[in-house]
Symmetry: D5
Subunit: 122 residues, 10 copies
């Protein structure tokens, strides 16, 4: 199971608000209906509160989905919820982009808190 | 005839608002005037209410237009109307992009409900 | 002379507002100063009122500029005026993009009515 | 010296507001410190008042910077000031994009008057 | 250590507000955990107050990070703070884009002062 | 069934050898196993003998595959055989490129006669 | 009618063999069947004998096809024949690339003399 | 373990030589040293003998590497050997392209039999 | 006048044959007929004999064409002749690519000595 | 100093000839004349003899150039010589591509042994 306890955090280096975006292009999980692998890109954008997520732990956390059967929408909302709960960002967006399956590309956008208009990725 | 009863739905996995976009690059129907095939990309963007559309059923629904004689504008409005009626999204956009015919590319954008400014695809 | 009577129209298929964009990449007219040909892309974006412009007639209308000596700005404003007068859209934008001449590319944007902020092409 | 008297103008062909953009990809001047050539792209965007700038004269005006020693910022502000003074646009933006020097690309954006939010190039 | 005293400034050539953007595509520092090199692109956007930063000195300042062990977030906030303190811009954004490490690309956006909505890079 | 009698030909306009390539980006047929549509690009390259294929008839011939259940390899070899038989080119290549299905893209290359080394598309 | 007497030539500046390629992206003629305009790119590659074609005269020659009804193959072979006859190159290739019509792109390659293997454009 | 018995074959539909290329962009295995996932694109090009590989079985065969610890070079040679043994192509190339790891991209090219010069992918 | 005495050379660092290519994207000279500036990219490819050209001196040499009125063909042959004479490469190619003038792009390729087939840029 | 003893090797996994290409996009060294950093991409292509180079050791070897003052040509020939000596490939190419300095991009190609025509990168 995806395991949020893998995630590590470090104190934000600045009290002045700033924005962090990590784009992971090597996400893979399994389709719960067919068992076939899904491939996606996960983007995490946030304005840190007291803490920032450590990059290597984020990678291991994403790798823990490798053999999970889980839908696109659930991946996106799970990541949003687990990251938000662990590090309490001022705001956060999790955007997942999925490679073509049956002629479709899909994007799911989940939001935590109030994203300033100019920073929304739609 | 395009058959909306093909469409299947599943309960939205999150009460927190989020956005779903499906892009289908393999849409084809027939021009009602000439009988020649039209080729387009269909984008469906929406914020789910209680339900989300299931991807494979959406594909079959789109395939049911394959031998229909129907104009660009009617394709777009039909999909918007049938999807909106079946799943009652908080808002939805259907955007169709059509390959060149006679030196023209065309895009049709149909909207259901009130799309937040930052999420409008224009 | 460009002849707007070539244009044909059909009733809008939906009372719900929607947006139509036609991009014509094969426009050519003549420079009135030098007689050399100009090449451009014409984009027509609009929210239909009661009527939509028929695509083949729009193509023939654009072809009627082929041997006209006319400036970029006049092409743009003429198309905007003649289309707006004939089909009374709720709003319309005509955008012309001209290939390089003397190291320049040019774009002219003419507007009819009040375009919603999110739909402006600038 | 850059010579604004080269510039020629013609009456705006429409009383209805519209926007003109000219992009010149072949601008070159000299760095006043090193004497080495600089290469840039100059974009002029404006809503005409009574007059529009004639394209060939704009080209000659830009060519008059060829052997001038002048900084990026001064090129941009000079063009903005001289064009604005000569043709009194309702608003204008001059944007200069400079090729890499020492691993840098640079962009300077100078504005005249009040540019509508949707038309700002940033 | 990164040395802000390397930075040189020149008086802004115009009292009319304008915007300057410098993009440096050859930034490198060291990861403080692994010692491996990081590679990034640094974008500095600002509206000058009384002074502008001189480009060659900015290059030398960026080169002074070459053998520093420093995190992405600290690079970004350090540059923002040191530049803002030295030249008091009306507003400034520092945006850093980092090449893939472990399948990730990252972007950090730090802001000084109040950036007009239309000029925010997100 | 794909019907080669649709094809029309016209006499080659030159006795000097030359090469013709037609690329059709709107080919669609059905997968004989699943019934799902396949989408591909068909390239026909040849050096004409006495005759050239007429473009509109080639389009109608390709459209006659629309509702056929037929594999990629059979599409390619059928087109090669039927075209070669009808117009006796000096040499011909038929190249089919198929959109992704299950994470795969495919290309099939069938040849008729002896293609000069420099003209082979591989 | 396309008029090869428009073409002007100048003596080749070097006795050492070299290659010249001119790519004209603004060619237009008319389809002799439908009367609709065709748009193409014409590439002329050659190794000069005693003479080179002057660029402005080549442009005027190409413009003389503007209102001619003529097929792709005939355009290509006509240009090859008229240029070869007028300037006797050591070898020459004329390559025409035509924009999409009915879902097709087309390329015609006509050759004069013996093109060295490494210089063939296929 | 990668299991070549999953592979299925069908008789080649033509006695005339032709070439088949399948590109799979969703290959993943594990690094045997670190346990981290590798991501690659596998290209199989071949001229069939009596048999062709069935696409869905090829996909399942590739998926059987998902949780294998195996080096790039071994993946490539294993696929070449197992495919060549099972279907005896006239010639075959297996090309693997691997996403960046530590700032590297890698390509491995393994060949079976004698590939005609013009068909080699290098 | 272009001044080849500006060019400096350094001894080739290896007796084993190797190839050097320098691409200069900021070349400008003047059209001798119209006086308007031309802009091009100059590529110099060669296998050194005893000497290599020093990069900064090559830049200054290219800058010495800035205010020369000289045709494309003459620029190319002059650079080939002056470089070949000064450094006696085993072989050399000079390739010039010129930006659009009147809807044309042009490339001139001049060769010195015998270029191995695989190294020819055509 | 660049230290070839860092390099590690592993036995080639196949007696059948095959080709390996590693592309490192994060190479940096120092210009020996100016002390400014150079940035390049290093491509190593080879057919292994008994041994293959281990990827992580190759990365550390490349990182050992970070603070070396060394010319492009010397980097290329040094890597070719040290790799060839340590692992005795059947053939090898080292290709270095250098980012723009003073408006130039450069490529150096050094070869060891006899590269089959079809595998040469030029």
């Amino acid at each position: 199971m995806p395991d949020p306890t893998i995630l590590e955090f470090f104190p934000s280096p600045s009290a002045t608000p700033f924005v962090i975006e990590h784009v992971h292009e090597e996400f893979t999980s399994l389709c719960p209906k067919t068992g076939h692998p899904d491939f996606g890109t996960i983007t995490v954008r946030y304005e840190p509160g007291a803490q920032c997520v450590e990059l290597k732990s984020l990678k291991l956390y994403f790798q823990s989905f490798r053999n999970e059967g889980i839908f696109y929408e659930a991946v996106t909302n799970t990541i949003r919820d687990q990251l938000a709960q662990r590090m309490s960002p001022r705001w956060m967006q999790v955007i997942t982009d999925w490679k073509g399956r049956g002629g479709f590309r899909s994007r799911i956008v989940a939001t935590h808190g109030s994203v300033p208009e100019a920073f929304i990725r739609a």
